[in-house]
């Protein structure tokens, strides 16, 4: 668990992007509850935008308009097909703590490292 924010700094129904160790998370406060999901859209790998949720309380990706539930990360509107990962959150003494989760086991290679090569999984039916 990593401290990611002060509860008092979280506005109702607004998405905030925070860093939790190796992970970048999107956190949303609803009443006295705070939930955290992975901050990168599962569709085109752009970071979700901080700010207001949609009128129906969803997270909308700024790039292609995919929508996700802030509660369980589920896809509510295409083109995304994969849910955002949910991260456990705890409130302790006015601070918000979040679980960064495991470092991805099959971490994708970093293209800015010398000699890095893409993995077959990135290529779909090209590979």
């Amino acid at each position: 668990m990593v401290r990611v924010a002060a509860f008092a700094d979280l506005a109702e129904a607004r998405l905030k992007l925070v860093r939790a160790g190796h992970a970048k998370l999107a956190i949303v406060r609803t009443g006295e509850t705070v939930r955290a999901v992975s901050a990168m859209c599962t569709h085109a790998r752009i970071f979700l935008a901080p700010g207001e949720l949609t009128e129906d309380g969803l997270i909308e990706c700024p790039m292609h308009g995919a929508k996700f539930s802030p509660d369980d990360g589920s896809v509510r509107c295409p083109p995304a097909t994969t849910a955002l990962t949910v991260h456990e959150v705890r409130l302790i003494d006015g601070s918000v703590f979040a679980d960064p989760g495991e470092e991805p086991v099959a971490a994708l290679p970093d293209s800015t490292k010398p000699g890095a090569r893409p993995s077959a999984s990135q290529w779909g039916n090209w590979g």
Binding site: A44, R45, M63, H64, P79, L108, P109, S111, T112, K113, P114, G115, A116, R117, P118, S119, A120, S121, Q122, W123, G124, N125, W126, G127
Partner: protein, 440 residues
């Protein structure tokens, strides 16, 4: 030389800040920039004119443009390929009015002055009416392009006698060009005449894109991506290297999926032993390890060696295209695009690579149309007086250090998503607009 400042005293040097990655929008729209480019860049730099395979036989010619002036590239009966201003010495008439052809003599359509394929004035109408002191035919040959040189079949010209020799100008870009155009004993040849079309864009938007911009693929070509004709992971094409081969000559070189078909840029298996035998081991390793390369020979000869799906159901197929972006005004560009293929290519591969190219690039290609729409709208927006108060941003991956162990000459930065090569291009552009001897 005109001055290096504009009428509002802005120095051309202030329009490009390659350290911070800031580019003035004025360079894409201002008539003063256009005029300065014509004088200081396009009338001095080595510009691509034609490929030898376009004029294989004596008498073969093509009409091209160099710094906005029409020229003829002609294969003389003596076997030498020359380039001349396509203008009769009598009244200046456009001597040859066909795009290409074969001629024993070039006869002016206006009064009939005629020239040999070597450019000499050989016949003047009613010649007996000239006093011999008033007609020195030896001095009235076609006006030659000041310098003409050929590299691996690529014919270049320059209107400047001061510009250094072509091999020096290309420098270490030759190492990378050879991987694309001289990787088999026969090298490459054109597949038919070039496609030509006009785009309402400043030429530098096209060049900027062809310095190696893989990060526009999933937005500009979003429909192609949605249909599944790009790899599903938008970072799949972010690998490889951005390379500054020499001064403003830049490229990227990008690996494909980890399968044998995507090695050697995806060319057919029967050509691969030829590549191994022809290139140096270092070059052959780069060819083996990569599937895509896009780049630009400064200022405006760009190339793309890519694998594409011509439609939803066909396998990725490679093609090699060279293109030039010729400014015809501050906001207009004429594109010339050639498909090239190894001379040793089989008829089947020629057909497949031709189809892959035509479906995806050229004026009706599904990728090229997306690009042109973006370049045209970028150009329109950047003509605005208010818009021009704000610089454009070229800052991606500038913090990534160069890979000193990269197995090729020049500077290489790992990762093909980044704006290093654009900034190398604009920095060189600035040097040509502001320096007396930018090549020094």
């Amino acid at each position: 030389m005109t001055s290096s400042t504009m009428t509002d005293t802005t120095d051309f040097a202030a329009l490009v800040d390659e350290e911070r990655g800031h580019i003035s929008r004025r360079i894409y729209a201002d008539p003063q920039v256009y005029d300065a480019e014509q004088e200081k860049l396009f009338r001095r730099a080595w510009c691509f004119l034609a490929h030898e395979s376009e004029v294989p036989n004596p008498g073969d010619y093509v009409e091209r443009q160099l710094a906005g002036e029409r020229i003829l590239v002609i294969h003389g009966k003596d076997g030498v390929i020359r380039a001349f201003l396509n203008s009769c010495r009598h009244r200046g008439m456009r001597l040859c009015r066909a795009d290409k052809g074969n001629a024993t003599f070039l006869r002016c359509p206006y009064h009939g002055w005629s020239y040999s394929s070597e450019g000499e004035l050989v016949s003047v109408f009613a010649e007996e009416l000239y006093h011999e002191d008033n007609l020195d035919k030896a001095d009235l040959g076609l006006i030659p392009v000041t310098q003409v040189e050929t590299y691996k079949g690529f014919i270049f010209g320059s209107w400047s006698a001061e510009t250094p020799a072509l091999t020096e100008y290309l420098g270490d870009m030759r190492f990378y060009l050879d991987i694309l155009v001289a990787r088999t004993p026969g090298g490459v040849e054109v597949v038919g005449p070039p496609q030509c079309w006009e785009v309402h864009t400043n030429w530098k938007f096209a060049t900027d894109n062809f310095t190696g911009d893989n990060f526009h693929l999933y937005t500009a070509h979003g429909s192609v991506a949605e249909l599944g004709m790009l790899p599903p992971d938008p970072m799949a094409l972010s690998f490889g290297n951005l390379i500054q081969a020499h001064k403003g000559h830049v490229l990227h070189i990008v690996p494909g999926p980890p399968i044998p078909q995507a090695e050697y840029f995806g060319v057919p298996m029967e050509l691969r032993p030829l590549i191994e035998d022809t290139l140096s081991p270092q070059q052959a390793d780069l060819a083996k390890g990569h599937a895509f390369s896009v780049g630009t020979v400064f200022p405006n000869l760009s190339f793309m060696q890519v694998m594409v799906q011509g439609d939803l159901y066909s396998a990725p197929t490679p093609f090699l295209s060279f293109r030039i972006w010729q400014p015809t005004g501050p906001t207009t560009t004429k594109v010339w695009s050639w498909l090239m293929v190894e001379k040793e290519a089989s008829p089947e591969y020629r057909k497949a690579t031709y189809e892959a190219y035509v479906r995806t690039f050229g004026p009706s290609g599904i990728f090229e149309q997306d690009d042109m729409e973006n370049w045209e709208e970028c150009t329109r927006m950047n003509t605005g007086a208010v818009a021009q108060r704000y610089n454009l941003h070229h800052g991606m991956a500038l913090h990534v250090p160069a890979d000193r162990d990269f197995p090729g000459p020049g500077n290489a930065w790992p990762g093909s998503y980044g704006e290093r090569t654009q900034l190398c291009f604009y920095g060189e552009w600035k040097r040509w607009l502001t320096m007396e001897e930018p090549w020094a």
